[in-house]
Amino acid sequence: MNLRHLEMRLERLAGFARPSARLEQYQTPPAVAARLLFHAYMQGAIEGRAVCDLGCGTGILACGAALLGASSVVGIDIDPGAVAAARKNADAVDAQIGFLVGDVRDEGFDWSSLRCDTVVMNPPFGAQKAHADRPFIDRSLQLASEVYGIFNGGSSPFVAAYTEGRAAVEEVIACSFPMRRTFAHHRKDRADIAVEVIHYRRI
């Protein structure tokens, strides 16, 4: 499967029926998801690897990882409605994915049971709630040594500083995508959003 083929498969998946602004839910753009996944795949971080999608939403990264031959995929999200949609998406592409409703901030949860090779994630950027992405970064490093995440454009200095001593930022890939008006507070019908795919490795 090549990059374009992957993107076409991911484009057919369903997004959020009723997105929540508080949880910063928006459909991960298929082009950005495919870019992240294919890049990780080319580096040997997906095929034959155990992959976890933290804050999986409607499961686009989890489904893509399964399509690229991950040995096991687990998707976890706090929103039961999103996880139900993710499960339908996984069924639609015939992917075997274990989905859970859970909270990445939950310290009581036995996270060691979910240890894996690679974490892929599109965490909240913290646009609605400051530092909402930090628990995702902390948890990702607990679960896996290789992490590929989608962050706000210009986030890499923050991610590098926040993970100092714990991880090294290996790569930053800048992308942008058009976001359609999703929430009442969005003023434009469509806006180009700059994002970065950041790959960091536990040290």
Binding site: V74, I78, P80, V83, A84, R87, Q96, G98, F99, L100, V101, G102, D103, D106, G108, F109, D110, S113, L114
Partner: protein, 59 residues
Amino acid sequence: MRRDLLDILCCPVCKGGLVLTVVEENDEEILEGSLLCEACGASYPICAGIPNLLPPGIE
């Protein structure tokens, strides 16, 4: 929820072992049922094939 997922799950409240109760299942997975913590008694529903491990009382 496939049965093998149960191997890696434990109670998010107290890390106790979870006991599965199946209400409905098919050849591949459990569709409806619950996970009960043996240690603290907390119960977690499995709805439409998805286990919900949010601590009870948190929405």
